[in-house]
Amino acid sequence: MEFSLQAEKLSKRFDTQTLAVEDISLKVKPGEFLTLLGPSGGGKTTTLRLLAGFEKPSSGRIQIGSRIVADDAHFTPPEKRRIGMVFQDYALFPHVNARENIGFGLGRNTKERSKQIERMLALVGMAPYAERMPHELSGGQQQRVALARALAPNPDILLLDEPFSNLDTGLRAQVRTDVRRILRETETTAIFVTHDQEEALSLSDEIAVIFEGKLLQLATPHAIYNRPVSMRVAKFVGDANFMPAEAHGMTAQCRLGEVKLFHPKTGKVQLLIRPEALAVRFDEIGTPATVLWREFFGHYQRLGLALADGAELMARAGVDRYFRRGDKVWVSMALPALAYDV
């Protein structure tokens, strides 16, 4: 199968001995949207810059389409890689207007050039603002121009470095949806860096979780959330409760009594219990607990629970029942749990 981008055992070492990126391998299919997710300073931006060609890998190989752009023998500079890049601060050239920003990567003044600019302006819905200078555009509009500028030369692959983090929350959801639509319409292969797990889960076809320069897991958002390979990944993506347990094959014994497991395990384990896997009720089924706190989000509520021995759990409940601080409730597992060796 042909991949749009392949990275093999990519490593980057800066001045110090520590590796910023260590042995990262990625494969991206045409039209796919891959997210590099991880905490700040974890190496995901460095990975992106290696793919773009702004940094030279210390070792490893990068292939875009059928072209090898970096390996031990040679290194293709960014301007020859046919990539597009959208930066966190958009980096619109302040001395030219929106139209000229979009046309920057296109050749000399030709008909094809102005046609392509018009196409891009229409694609991102910026046609009415084409003559505006960057400082006359709002954050969301700047974002669209930056996207159009990157897409204009028809890059083989689009790289986005935290492109939504400078937008305020209300705008962010809208822009996110728009960007996803535009990328789908243009069938662009894209790699996207973020530290926002919600963004990663909602937008991506695949997520690569990167911690301390290492790739911990590369999988679909569904698999990352439901089958995280380690407790670290589980903690980073979504809310998580952990509970010590004694596993016996497909079941384990813990404070909540006997719970079902996804995979067979034996011995001491830690169970990952997502808040929505807990059923909280008033009808005395399960383990008794007390409501410590409640956060109401309209379409669901989040509960802090204390078990009889003082252990605390976070649960998620629908809004059909009303919980108050101090309520006596009963908790039980509604779904099988994932178990990790201690």
Binding site: F54, P77, E79, M85, H95, F104, A150
Partner: protein
């Protein structure tokens, strides 16, 4: 001297911005490196030639150095340096505090005028001081009604020290004021809450925070004294620069270079101390948030003495030179038998300054590029070496070029190209600094975006970085232009015979006591200096 260096220490540019620049392909970097190397070679070779030649003199040279007259020159320079640094500090500290932290009326005006004292060429200040405060001068006519007869001449140590104190005190005001504005107000309030008096707060809390800035300013002043030619030459005080000039003028180049060698050693020693201090000083830096809303201390009954103090400083340092120049402009004095048309002077001065500014700006470009990308230690060294030209006194560079040209390039000696090279070496750092900081202020992402759009590094430079940095580069160009206009020792030693500029005209007119010929060139140079100051202040809006 380079004003932005005081206000904006070079370390500031070494931040994340610089590291985040994309790496260049080898071809690009090598081109910039080769060009930089050529520029640095032009800077270094004459100086190296001078130093090696001086070492070559061997025992004879040491013999000359140990002569009583030579030792007296060393003593003179050191005494002048120490006296001026002390006097300038005494003027600068209250001046800085009053303009920064008190409710002194017209403090902005005082500050701006105070800084003007720094940019008026020192020979002009010296010429006007010796006229105003000497026999039959302005001061004497003011004092006559109270029975003071004839004032003694101020030529010599006193005149040189007086001139240099008033020319250099802004070099201490600037860093001291910046430090006073940066002081952490919370610390002072903590002191007051512990029961310290205002004076105790100043001594125990504010002054220690000022110490690094004060030492930086004092070192700048000391360096200025060592390298200044104008004031000591006009005041006929035998410090290094004047002695070197006299020896060079009478073609005793070996003696001149021995003296220059000692001066270089002293200068480098001071520079080393300065760089040490700057590194140590960074511990004192206070977070930026607290700085803005500093409370101004009401002066109360001290208001009048404070205004009188500042007015006196400005009156001596800035208004005196202006008044004297204007009085010469309108006065009926002996007419100079050697009439030089103003158009010739103007044409020469502007022409040679403009060409030099263009040459310097072009030469600075590869070095600024290299500094911006600063990929390797050797690149950084190359840039540092280019800064040498401004660290060394102008007279030393001029002497080095005289020696180099007379022994290797005789056909270049006393030609305009060599004069321009001399200016270029001395003012190259102005242009590198301006260009480098203009580059540093452009978003490094711009270049990356361009390259991700398929545009080569050079095209990105031409289409994005240069257009965006244009204002900064032009400001650097203007600064070089305006400073070359004022330059005296380089011009005196390297100019073609019969080539006159404003600076040399003032020099020879003063030598021959045709003071009215000084007025117009002098006022035009003051005007040029004020424009230069305005550019500097606009580059760094935070200080005024």
């Amino acid at each position: 001297m380079h004003l932005p260096d005081i206000i904006r220490p070079r370390q500031k540019l070494n931040g994340a911005l610089r590291q985040a620049r994309p790496h260049w392909r080898f071809g690009n970097r090598q081109l910039a490196q080769a060009a930089s190397l050529a520029v640095v070679a032009v800077v270094m070779i004459p100086v190296a030639y001078l130093v090696l030649g001086a070492f070559h003199a061997g025992a004879e040279g040491i013999d000359y150095l140990l002569r009583a007259r030579t030792l007296r020159i060393v003593g003179n320079s050191l005494a002048l340096m120490l006296t001026v640094t002390a006097c300038a500090s005494f003027i600068a500290l209250p001046f800085a505090w009053l303009t920064a932290r008190s409710d002194l009326p017209w403090r902005r005006v005082f500050l701006a005028l105070g800084l003007a004292a720094m940019v008026i060429p020192s020979y002009l200040t010296a010429v006007t001081f010796s006229e105003a405060f000497g026999p039959k001068g302005m001061l004497q006519s003011l004092l006559e009604p109270i029975g003071v007869g004839r004032l003694p001449s101020i030529k010599g140590f006193f005149g040189a020290a007086l001139t240099l104190s008033f020319v250099t005190f802004p070099y201490i005001v600037l860093p001291a004021r910046a430090a006073l504005l940066r002081c952490d107000r919370n610390l002072e309030e903590a002191g007051q809450s512990l029961g310290l008096s205002r004076w105790a707060v100043f001594r125990q809390i504010i002054l220690p925070q000022l110490r690094p800035a004060l030492s930086t300013g004092m070192l700048m002043t000391a360096l200025y004294c060592l390298s200044d030619f104008g004031a000591v030459a006009v005041m006929r005080f035998n410090a290094f620069t004047r002695a070197i000039f006299l020896q060079t003028e009478s073609y005793r180049l070996d003696k001149a270079s021995m003296l220059a060698l000692v001066l270089i050693v002293l200068t480098i020693a001071l520079l080393i101390v300065q760089s040490r201090l700057q590194h140590g000083g960074r511990h004192y830096r206070v977070g930026s948030g607290a700085a803005r809303n500093l409370e101004r201390l009401p002066l109360g009954k001290w208001k009048l003495p404070a205004v009188a103090f500042c007015a006196t400083v400005i009156g001596i340092g800035v208004l005196t030179p202006l008044l004297v120049l204007f009085s010469w402009l309108s006065g009926h004095r002996l007419t100079n038998p050697i009439q030089v048309p103003l158009t010739e002077l103007l044409g020469n001065t502007v022409g040679v300054s403009a060409v030099s500014a263009l040459v310097v700006t072009a030469a600075a470009l590869p070095l600024a590029l290299l500094a911006m990308h600063a990929a390797s230690r050797s690149d950084r060294w190359l840039v540092q070496l280019a800064y040498l030209g401004n660290a060394l006194p102008g007279i030393v560079i001029a002497l080095a070029l005289v020696i180099f040209a007379t022994s290797n390039l005789l056909s270049w000696y006393q030609t305009l190209p060599l004069l321009i090279v001399g200016y270029a070496i001395h003012y190259l750092p102005f242009s590198i600094g301006a260009t480098e900081s203009a580059f540093a202020q452009t978003n490094p992402r711009f270049e990356e975006v361009a390259r991700s759009l398929g545009i080569s590094a050079w095209a990105a430079l031409a289409r994005i970085t240069l257009p965006l940095a244009r204002a900064g580069i032009l400001a650097g160009l203007a600064l070089v232009f305006l400073n070359v206009m004022k330059e005296l020792p380089t011009t005196l030693l390297l100019r073609p015979i019969g080539f006159r500029t404003f600076a040399t005209r003032i020099w020879s007119a003063y030598d021959e006591a045709f003071l009215s010929s000084i007025a117009l060139p002098g006022l035009l140079l003051v005007l040029a200096s004020l424009i230069a100051l305005a550019i500097l202040l606009r580059q760094d809006e935070g200080i005024a």
